[in-house]
């Protein structure tokens, strides 16, 4: 601000003495201290668990017993990570979280693909090819998104048992596709409905049919919404616990279920460093998706929030 004072000493043609230019503001005004102070403290609080997880997973058990969970490791060891991944025991299996990881991959990949294919085509049909009664079913679907899963899990068990898929990964894929449907269909329907109708009409006049318009016009124009849907589904399905524990058998449990079993198993000495390594490993996939996708993730959860 000093040079401004100096400037006013040599007034320009019309400038008079007194305030001129921007109102002086202090970087350390009470307002700024309050805003940034609060945000920094809250941010530290939010980061703390992640820090504790990482730090604990890099310590040996003796150091954990002696020390402070917030202290950085004196001697970094990756043994807990190796153990969590390859040899930690759940029940009779001692091949670590790797089994759960690959199960989760086998569940997540087909579930994401199937649910998005169904929902995008269905959303497109609802937005552009309305037929009588479509709105009734759609309303039921959206209202159904609010029904607690607990009300529907047992009837689904019966249905899956009847078609011979209870306990298999395919059964779980079907369940994820079903429960992903309300939010995804809504997402795609709204997106397609927001596209200019003239485009659709022009394509019809040009003789394109249902699939022609979908593949050649709608798909190429809706990449962002597909990315949002993929993010939403990957994190949602990867993080699922309830369906995994109900609809699969122990050898095909997804990662979250296996993680919970490793950490909360009653037998043996608790190895907190292995537990934390396993916890980070399980959180790694959604965290990776989150930090890579950035703004699109925010869009996805804002949309996905409706799912509750």
């Amino acid at each position: 601000m000093h040079d401004r004072v100096a400037l006013s000493a040599i007034p320009a043609a019309r400038i008079e003495a007194g305030p001129q230019g921007p109102k002086p503001r202090h970087a350390f005004s009470r307002r700024n201290i309050f805003i940034y102070g609060t945000l920094i403290v809250v941010s530290l609080y939010y980061l703390l668990p992640l820090y504790v997880m990482v730090v604990t997973s890099l310590k040996g058990m003796p150091e954990i017993r002696l020390g402070n969970i917030f202290a950085p490791p004196m001697e970094i060891t990756f043994e807990p990570w190796a153990k969590a991944w390859a040899t930690a025991c759940t029940g009779l299996n001692c091949d670590g979280l790797s089994r759960g990881f690959w199960n989760s991959v086998r569940i997540t990949v087909p579930s994401v693909i199937i649910s998005i294919v169904i929902a995008s085509v269905n959303g497109y049909a609802l937005a552009n090819w309305r037929f009588k009664g479509a709105d009734v079913f759609f309303t039921i679907l959206i209202v159904g998104a609010f029904i607690p899963y607990q009300v529907m899990i047992y009837p689904i068990v019966i249905v899956l048992r009847e078609i011979g898929l209870y306990g298999s990964l395919s059964g779980l894929v079907i369940v994820h596709s079903i429960f992903g449907m309300p939010i995804l269909t809504l997402l795609f329907r709204n997106y397609f409905a927001s596209m200019p109708e003239e485009l659709f009409k022009a394509a019809r006049v040009d003789g394109a049919g249902f699939w022609g318009i979908y593949f050649r016009i709608m798909l190429p124009m809706s990449l962002p919404i597909f990315v949002v849907a993929i993010i939403l589904q990957i994190t949602g399905i990867w993080n699922d616990f309830l369906f995994g524990v109900i609809y699969t058998r122990p050898e095909s449990y997804p990662m979250t279920v296996q993680l919970n079993n490793i950490v909360n198993s009653m037998q043996g000495v608790k190895e907190y460093n292995v537990n934390m390594a396993a916890t980070i490993l399980t959180g790694l996939v959604p965290l990776f998706v989150y930090f890579v996708s950035g703004k699109l993730f925010v869009r996805g959860i804002a949309a996905g929030a409706v799912k509750g």
């Binding site: 400038i15 008079e16 305030p19 921007p22 109102k23």
Partner: protein, 362 residues
């Protein structure tokens, strides 16, 4: 006339983007000044600076002789009306009008008095207990003006207040704002991109482009003697004709030559730089060209009518002169037919000549 608002050497830049440059403006007490320009010219930004809603980068702002450059908006003695009305949607009209006064701790009887007065002036007495959602666009705009009115402000700032209304309502409210100005006699600064609003309301118009005031003058003066090609083209509907050509030395005065057409510039008031030769643009308003109106014009030519656009009372006639489009405004009863040959004529005194290089008036 005392100055009410003074803007001195004001500049504004966001980072490296300069929005306003060395703006100087003195607005008289009780004057109605319109800031006119295309979107992005900085007119709304200037108004926000005067209101104190945007910090200036350099320069000063005076309101009623007081340096308010660092003052909060509420302490500047201004009332402001926004394009989107910005009424508080959850409050009744009465609360909308009085909220600022109540927060300022004004005694209740005085608030009531001011609200009553404002609602009488604006004829919104019957709407006081309604919420903004239950009002029409015109009524909302009136309430927004009322909110500025109760502040007993010395200066009223209008930020495109009529842009969200349909054409009919807009012309009605335009008249009302003019009446309000006559009744109150306050200084008013009014931002718009609508040249009709500017022409009808203003005591003076400041035409802006690229963060710079191009011309500041009375409406008729701006209309008849635009200082450059931009101002000439921005005002007037239908727009001014521009003929590209050369100014060449002629008999007793220079001539304007566009291909095969030679227009004598006798009687044209050249500016201080005097006569000029070189590339230039000749601007002439469609209504200043006579069609089949005798031979008394200093310049006349025969042209073939190409297109006729009836616009109600008047008709716009298109033809070509010197290989370029030219339009004439004629009374609809005397409209020629397409293909007809007509004689057109105008007086160079009413034309404007612009430098071919920088577009400034010659």
């Amino acid at each position: 006339m005392n100055t009410s608002v003074s803007v001195k050497d004001l500049s504004l830049a966001f980072g490296t983007v300069s929005v306003l440059q060395d703006m100087n403006l003195d607005i008289g007490d009780g004057e109605f000044l319109v800031l006119l320009g295309p979107s992005g010219c900085g007119k709304s930004t200037l108004l926000n600076c005067i209101a104190g809603l945007i910090d200036v980068s350099s320069g000063q702002i005076f309101i009623n002789g007081r340096n308010v450059t660092w003052e909060e908006p509420k302490d500047r003695g201004i009332g402001m009306v926004f394009q989107s009305y910005a009424l508080y949607p959850q409050m009744t009209v009465e609360k909308n009008l009085s909220f600022g006064l109540r927060v300022a701790g004004m005694p209740k009887p005085q608030i009531a008095e001011r609200v009553t007065r404002a609602s009488e002036i604006l004829q919104i007495g019957a709407l006081l207990q309604r919420k903004p959602a239950a009002l029409s666009g015109g009524q909302r705009q009136r309430v927004a003006i009322g909110r500025a009115l109760v502040r007993d402000a010395e200066v009223f700032l209008f930020d495109e207040p009529l842009s969200n209304l349909d054409a009919k309502l807009r012309s009605e409210l335009r008249v009302e704002i003019k009446r309000l100005h006559q009744k109150l006699g306050n200084t008013m600064i009014y931002v718009t991109h609508d040249q009709i609003e500017a022409m009808t309301l203003a005591d003076r118009i400041a035409v802006m482009k690229g963060g710079v005031i191009q011309q500041l003058d009375a409406p008729q003066q701006i209309y008849n003697r635009p200082v450059n090609r931009f101002v000439a083209g921005f005002l007037g509907s239908p727009g001014m004709n521009f003929l590209e050509g050369q100014v060449e030395a002629g008999g007793d005065a220079p001539d304007f030559v566009a291909r095969n057409v030679r227009i004598p510039l006798k009687g044209y008031g050249f500016g201080i730089k005097g006569a000029y030769t070189g590339p230039a643009t000749l601007g002439i308003r469609p209504e200043h060209i006579g069609v089949n109106t005798g031979s008394g014009w200093p310049f006349s030519a025969a042209v073939e009518v190409e297109v006729v656009e009836p616009m109600g009372s008047d008709t716009l006639v298109w033809a070509r002169l010197g290989g370029q489009n030219i339009t004439m405004l004629v009374s609809s009863e005397r409209s020629p037919r397409v293909g007809e040959m007509v004689t057109i004529g105008f007086d160079p005194m009413r034309a404007s000549l612009f430098d071919g290089a920088n577009g400034d008036r010659l």
